[in-house]
């Protein structure tokens, strides 16, 4: 049984972040997109707590609380936007929303 070192945590964090990032770039469903963003945030949180534990420093853990708080607020705002968009356009396909085209 090998010992779980910091590398494992970092590797998991990278994998999760990459899945999230690819999700943001490749998927069209706004909800999926949203979930992918959550995944990237949590990948970062994982890296923070892993390093905090590894270095014996509480700063990373404090930062994670902030991230969770901000993510919760973001989810609230984001979901409202998605719901409103769905009500007006009957769709949440992100490629159909391009009113900001310059």
């Amino acid at each position: 049984m090998p010992e779980v070192t910091i590398d494992w945590y970092v590797a998991l964090s990278v994998i999760l972040f990459s899945i999230g990032a690819l999700g943001v770039l490749l998927r069209r469903n706004a909800i999926i997109l949203f979930m992918s963003i959550e995944m990237m945030l949590n990948a970062a949180n994982l890296a923070f707590v892993a390093f905090a534990r590894h270095l014996g420093d509480l700063d990373g853990q404090v930062l994670v609380f902030f991230v969770i708080t901000v993510a919760a607020a973001e989810v609230a705002v984001g979901l409202v936007l998605i719901v409103t968009i769905f009500r007006t356009k009957k769709s949440i396909n992100i490629d159909e929303i391009h009113l900001m085209k310059g």
Binding site: A21, V24, L25, L33, I94, D95, I97, M100, K101, G102
Partner: protein, 751 residues
Amino acid sequence: MPMNAFGLAPLLLVFPLIGVLFNGLVGRRFIVANRNTGEKWSGWFASVMALSAFMVSVLLFLSLRSHEYHAEVVHLFDWLAIPSAGFRVPWAFQIDTLSVTMMLVVTGVGSLIHIYAIGYMHGDPNFSRFFAYLNLFLFFMLILVSGNNYLMLFVGWEGVGLCSFLLIGFWFDKVNEKGEPMNANAARKAFVANRVGDFAMILAMALTFWSFGSLEFEPVFSHALEMFESGEMVHFGLFSASLGSVLTAVTTLFLIGATGKSAQIPLYVWLPDAMAGPTPVSALIHAATMVTSGIYLIVRSNVLFEIVRASGATIFGIVSSPDLVAYIGAATALLAGLIAFTQFDIKKVLAYSTVSQLGFMIAAAGMGAYVAAMFHLITHAFFKALLFLGSGSVIHGMEHGHHHIHAHNHGKEVHGTPQGDTHHEEDNFDPQDMRTMGGLRYRMKTTFIVYMIGALALAGIVPLAGFWSKDEILAHGSEHNLIVYILLTIAAVCTAFYMGRQLKMVFFGEPRHEAAAHAEESPAVMTVPLMILATLAVLGGGLNLPFLSQGIAETYHEHPGGVFLGLEGWLEHSIAAFELTEEGVVHLPETPKVFSPGVAGISTILAVGALVLAFYVVYANKPKTAEEPDPLQSTPIWWFSVLPLNTLYMNYIVPGFNRLAQWLADKVDWAFWHDFFHDRIIRDTFVGFAHFAANILDLKGVDGMVNGAGSLAKRLANWIRQTQTGYARNYALSIFLGTVVLLAYFIFMAN
């Protein structure tokens, strides 16, 4: 330092100016309020102003004496100055013996004529206007003689021309039989003829300034003398000319100016017509003062004339300009003397006589006899003013006689409203026609005596003033220029003859018209000035008796300024006599004037002979009636009455002048100056530049830059705009890539 009154010089101009303002602004109100006292106020105020100016002249005269006759310049203010061109003309007074002589004559004779005019103009509806003009004339005449530069002289020159115009046309509403406004025409003729001369004056001044860089007398003369001494050329930018030729041009132009103002050939035609003005005007302006300003100009510029003479420069190799002056003067003297034979108008005879006498003065000035010219100018001012005023008195008396018979015939009193000269149209009676006179010696005794004195003085009878001055000119002519001498001697004979004729026709014989039979003597206000002038006409010769100036040099050097040494010694201080020797310009000592008994004897015998001829031969018992033809009418002399000189003036000089003016206006001013210079050069250059600035510089350059910046920003924005797709995933990708790039930078490059 003796006391002097040079500072008072500006008062010379102030007094007449006050007179002008008084009579011009309020004089008329006094007359409207009360005819008699108003006339007294108006006339005497003007006369007192003239007398005050005379007092100032006397003070200046005394100051000069105590100042050892040194010329003084009283600077009043800087008048015109263009520093960049070195042009500076002050308003300053030249107080020297020459100008003071002129001032004394102008204000002295002028004052007497003012007083006389109070009587003569009595009852004229424009009494105060007349005196305003008369004072204005004095004002300008004094500017003319007192200025220390040619520009001031020219101001006076033009001003007296204006006053002459105003006064000749004083009765401008008078018309002749054809309904032409003859007085207004005469005034215009005088003005136009003078313009020709003034044109030359302006050119002369321009040339003087161009050559010598100044218009003030003293710098011009000293500069000219220096250049003469060093033989320097006159430079005009790229060109240069010899001093002699430049001064020949200047002096010839001065001569043309003088022929206009002083009524010489060919511009004299205006002076006989100028007799249309009131008689005091004829006496003051057209005999004693204004017409002598041409002589003053030449005498004042004597240095320039003498340099021309000494340098031997001639006009086209024919005649030098001083000689031309002498010949023109002599020819005018003779011609005008001959024309005077044929005149019936009492004033026209005197007018031609004036032209003739001015010819004497011009001739004297041309021969270099400047003192003689000034001497004759002074004595002529006395006796010719006397003759004119005397003729005015005769005219006045004739009118009185005419009114008398008029009143008699109609049984009513018209004495209260005499109208001066204005009334003579009625039943074609001309109070100036000598044919209607005769026998006036009984009716007008005082006038007769003074007129006799004036006539004999003019004829040159010993020992009256005219003899001495005329003889001095003749003596000079006999030594220096025989042609001029002969012409002038014949002219002098003519003078005696026509004066004899006039005396005979006016005062002797029997009255040929009822008006003459009832003529009355003029009031004292007219006869007293006549008597004073008669005294001067008798004693005037004493100013420069030939015997007096003998030994002037010694007396002068012993008692400088101590005694009055006659005109010769007096004017010596203003008139330079010099010659060019190897050492340079040397001022000659005063040479005592030679009295030539031969010349004096010949001219006296001839004059007496001519008088006798006129009196006892030609006009012995004639004319008996006003209609009888003149005995000379069948002789060749009468040709001069129809001498086509007036026609010459009307047909050649006037059209010539018009053509020149037209050419100057059309070609030089319009075609060249306006069309070519202004339109082609200035306007087109300006328009071209404006076009360049508006269309090229502004539209293409400035606007192009501004518009270019705008369109550039627009194009750039259009290009950058394409990155804003509106697709959230594109933004996400760019953020992602950006992050990768930043990370890559920090990881690989930061260290």
